[in-house]
Amino acid sequence: MKAREELLLLLGTGPKSFSELRESLQYSKGHLSNELSTLEQEGLVRKIRRGKNLLLTLEDNYDAHKLGELYMAAVTHGIDPARLEADCFRKAWLHLKNSGESTLREVASSSGCSYSTTYSIITDMLKRGLAEKTRGKPLTVRLTLHEVNRLLANLWIQEGLNIVSSYTSGYPLMRTVWGTPGAIEEKLFKKARGLVVEGVRLRRKVEEPLEFVIPIEGKVDAEEVFLREIQTPNGVEETCIHLITEGKVRYDELLRRASERGLVNVVGCYLDILRSIHTDLIPRETVETFQRQVDTSHVPQFLAEEAKYGKEGWEAEFEGKWSVDLYLDLRGIRHGIRSVT
């Protein structure tokens, strides 16, 4: 480990005076002083006064906090944090994160690092439990659910948070945010007030805009949010409509994922209903594309949780066409469309 990592690790355990740091580490006074100065400039470390003593501590920001947490987790698992900071390690790790599973050659090619360096990185990751082998020949690996991988994702992956929809008329002014748990953790760190997390009773004071945060595991993009929200009343009456009118939905990708999850009938039917209320919302070709992939071998309920309210009498036309059992509140959908068009 280098001085930088050592300092962040030590300060992660609490504020320390400069003399305490000097007594704990083997580096010269000048070297420590320079490193601390750099860390202060990076906004990771700051000075505080406790009585007569001047102490150094991690900054009160998310990055410093997560870095300290990462280094502690790394060391406790026998992983040198300095290795995590290496450029080739980061590139290899990001490639595996994005690709899911890769051969050694693919990692090397993507990262631009030599085969031998990549080999060294990957074997070390395998040894430390950060990666696991999925195939022997050629050697193919993927990341594990190791705590250090989770913390690295929090620090290195920026796309975990997605403000997919915003509402102009709220109680108070409110926007909905979908995010991975890591991204939501960052939000909790940065925002003390005006935050509501779905399913959790936070007693925070209200501050506008109020952010209503919904955790999603895995990738957070418009299609993922759409497929999650289409199975909820608020989703079909507002969120999915917002996603469509904001032009965020890629219909080919939506179809591909809906097909994988057996949701083509439901999604296609929904798009067809939207188009029937407001023709300009959904292109005719899009509805037709979904129609060509309807699975008539099963009849899913849409929305299952609203089945207890019965039907209203308009459903038959769409049920026959899309092989679904419909329980939607058409008035709610109309209201949702009207509010954005």
Partner: protein, 241 residues
């Protein structure tokens, strides 16, 4: 933002009955003191006044839009104060003041069923924006009429939130009488109320969350809605005058 909405409303206030967010605002007093936010203007007007309302809004340089059911206008919100400009930087999405004025008889999409606001069943109340401008006196329906309309609308979280608040103060027998006196509105309400109740009872429901955030007890609000449902199911209600 609300100041600009109220500024626009002031020009047409004498010619319309305000419904929607501003009307609920006129009636609601949340325990935590945080008023229901709104920027849209919803109202109804007698047929004879629609032309005048339209002229006034056009003179105020609002953009007219097509709407089969009445008048629809929009205007971009332009932040004036430093605070508002700062806020818009964090909000990032454009905001508009939207004005929708319908006839007093509001038809459903099927063109057959309707709800009607009675011009004589209104009351003057003050609405206060959260900005710095003076309160504005407007005509709003009674809380009974507002609630009777709300519970027949779509069961989205906004309507459920409004209905829940109104249930705390409206005379529920009068609400029920209004509902049964209006066309086939009772059939629609009987169908919608179970959704209003059922959705709001869900642990992660947004309307319930927002009610609690503003200091309301969701259970008390739902009690009122349940009582209304019972009144309608039992029948034997006097017709509203």
């Amino acid at each position: 933002m609300e100041d600009q909405s109220v500024d626009t409303l002031e020009h047409i206030a004498e010619h319309i009955i305000v419904i929607g967010g501003w009307a609920v605002r006129a009636w609601a007093r949340p325990p935590r003191g945080l008023m229901r936010y709104t920027i849209d203007i919803d109202g109804v007007a007698e047929e004879s006044k629609m032309g005048q309302v339209e002229s006034i809004l056009q003179e105020q340089h609002l953009r007219r839009e097509q709407a089969e059911w009445g008048l629809r206008f929009r205007k971009d919100y332009v932040p004036q104060s430093q605070e508002a400009k700062g806020f818009m930087k964090t909000w990032k999405d454009p905001l508009e003041v939207r004005v929708e004025i319908s006839p007093t008889r509001m038809y459903e999409a099927d063109g057959e069923h309707f709800f009607e606001f009675e011009p004589h069943e209104t009351i003057r109340r003050e609405i206060r924006s959260r900005g710095s401008r003076q309160p504005l006196s407007v005509k709003v329906p009674t809380s009974q009429y507002l609630m009777a309309n709300k519970v027949g609308l779509g069961a989205d979280y906004k309507n459920r939130y409004d209905a829940a608040i109104l249930a705390l103060q409206a005379d529920l027998e009068q609400v029920a009488s209004i509902i049964v006196s209006t066309d086939k509105w009772k059939d629609i309400v009987i169908r919608q109320l179970p959704r209003f109740l059922g959705r709001t009872r869900q642990p992660t429901d947004l309307a319930a969350t927002l009610l609690e955030e503003n200091g309301y007890r969701t259970s008390s609000c739902l009690k009122g809605l349940a009582q209304l449902k019972k009144l309608l199911e039992e029948g034997d209600l006097p017709q509203a005058s």
